[in-house]
Amino acid sequence: MPRTVAFREALNEAMAEEMEKDDRIFLMGEEVGHYDGAYKVSKGLLKKFGEKRVIDTPIAEGGFVGVGIGAAMVGLRPIIELMTWNFSFVAADQLINNAAKIRQMSGGQFTLPVVFRGPGGSAHMLAAQHSQSTEALWAHIPGLKVVMPANPKDAKGLLKSAIRDDNPIIFIEGEVLYADQGEIPDGEYTIPLGVAEVKRPGTDLTIIGWSKMVKIALATAEALAAEGIEAEVVDPRTIRPLDEELLVQSVSKTKRCLILEEGWPFNGVGAEIAYRIGRRCFDDLDAPVERLTGADMPMPYNHHLEQQCIPDVPRAVAAAKKLLYLE
């Protein structure tokens, strides 16, 4: 019997189940223990696993991200929570120069089974420094895997796979998704990294989106369906490695592709996907691949301005119609 849980509870279950099985796994980050998590993702884990395995840190991302990497080098399997991915930049040297490269620089002698996780993307009126999508930055770097679940089921299954993976994982949780409810299977399950999913089948165009953009994509598909247009929504779920095959398969069928991305357009994940679709589906496409992205500027604080900087349903519908030459 499937159960309905919140996105944050699904993540919590994934960590608790894996920690139960493997005592090499520990959770470390700001406020993860005694405060029960800044976003309550780690709620109850301190009580369950104790201070040895649920470790509160000072505000020193460069330090404790490095601690996670060092501990992983010698055989532990850390989960390092970043209170938000906005704070990851002070740990960028650790993530880019150490986490992503130690395996290769050491000729494969050291592997890094470590998950860096926390909320990403914009929320509401948090202004420029607290509202940004970082997946394009991390996905740029060979040696890192980037995972971005869109619903509770994916969140739990992907986080369990991430924890079991032997590579450094960037696991980005949509900040506005934490309270979302969704069905998850009862009992043990995992979802493999690098496998996309068709979230809604359709025939007239493909809408590609991940994390909270899946919600916009599905709502856009509903709006289009009211006008007799059937959109297929595909969620890559893992940005790196990217399940190019499923994206190509979908676009080869629908012949039109719209990519929704919350982040900035320049060198965005959507730019990479558009290139791959363009190359692989060149003969099938009935229109150039379209992107709807976050505005190419730092996020403004003002609510109305902010909302105009994030892809929404009306603009996604308009972009879809443009693809179908309906406007």
Partner: protein, 334 residues
């Protein structure tokens, strides 16, 4: 009298208490490191390899003395000036030189080079190219030791140039907060690249940084391998038995430039010559003479070192390179 001067007599006593075989081992290691790096400098000049080459010549007693205080299970992590630490941790000159030559037989299969020597089997956790960036990793390996209760100690080497870096402070702060079994060793060679200490640090005594973090500290000269061993042994004991970190500052001097492209215009020839009078290897030899080792035996060690390095260079020369087709398997673990 400074703390450093007061150590002279105690150190001579310690040397007298060290048996001849042990002194010979230290001398062998220091000399092999020196000869290995001289061979590397020569090969570099002959363009046998490229990239950066940061020589340790002049500082040998620090790596050899400090690592003599460890058990094989203990972890060592270092900077890009780490050939000596790798050798002293038990890695062979063959694997080190082959790595610099970019060969598949190198300790990192030719993928890391001079700055990124690694050997998991010897618990040598690497050389790192970003100044200070490895210091939080040392806190991480020490965290793992405490987490598992495996009794291991982590030795983390860095230069005075790392001290202004945030990563140094974050790594030390966490090790202090969590009482981690790690020894932070600042090899203060008085210059961060070409910038003298007084232009990069407001307080010349690096060990004082320990005061702010509430951890033990030590500070001494690095030209005597026995002194280095015994003082580091104190810090290692504190880490192993009490799970407490120590910040140790060792004053030393590199006789060569920061890297091979360094013309050395920021310091005088006289200063360099003055420091060369305190060559740790000459002192290591003196210890053997004082311990009444036969001159023939000492020459035999030196001969053995020469052969060891010649053989290693030959091995590196004749080794194959990794095929490009194999490269991708090192990016991700399948």
């Amino acid at each position: 009298m400074s703390a450093i001067e007061s150590e002279a007599s105690e150190s001579h006593q310690a040397a007298r208490n060290t048996d001849k075989t042990t002194l010979a081992r230290y001398y062998h290691q220091m000399l092999a490191i020196r000869r290995m790096e001289e061979a590397l400098a020569k090969a570099y000049a002959l363009r046998k390899f490229g990239g950066f080459l940061h020589l340790y010549i002049g500082q040998e007693a620090v790596a050899v003395g400090a690592l003599a205080a460890l058990k094989p299970d203990d972890y060592v992590i270092a900077t890009y000036r780490e050939h000596a630490h790798a050798y002293a941790k038990g890695m062979g000159a063959k694997e080190i030189i082959a790595e610099l030559f970019g060969k598949a037989t190198g300790c990192s299969k030719g993928l890391g080079g001079s700055m990124h020597l690694f050997d998991a089997s010897k618990n040598f956790l690497g050389g790192y190219g970003i100044v200070g960036g490895h210091i939080p990793l040392a806190a991480g390996t020490a965290f793992a030791s405490k987490y598992r209760g495996d009794g291991r100690v982590t030795l983390c080497f860095f230069g005075d140039g790392s001290v202004p870096q945030g990563a140094f402070h974050e790594g030390v702060a966490l090790a202090a907060l969590w009482r981690l079994p790690v020894v932070f060793i600042c090899e203060n060679n008085l210059y961060s690249m070409g910038t003298p200490l007084y232009r990069s640090l407001s307080v010349a005594d690096v060990s004082q940084k320990a005061l702010g973090y509430g951890i033990a500290r030590d500070r001494f000269d690095g030209d005597d391998v026995i002194r280095v061993r015994d003082r580091i042994a104190e810090a290692v004991r504190r880490a192993r038995n009490e799970s407490l970190p120590t910040l140790v500052e060792i004053i030393t001097y590199r006789f060569r430039g920061h890297s091979m492209s360094d013309a050395g215009l920021y310091r005088t020839k006289e200063e360099v010559e003055e420091w060369k009078k305190r060559d740790p290897i000459a002192y290591g030899r003196e210890l053997l003479v004082r311990a009444k080792m036969d001159e023939k035996e000492i020459v035999a060690i030196e001969q053995k070192v020469t052969e060891e390095i010649e053989e290693a260079v030959k091995f590196a020369d004749e080794s194959p390179e990794l095929a490009f087709e194999r490269l991708s398997e090192f990016t991700y673990k399948e």
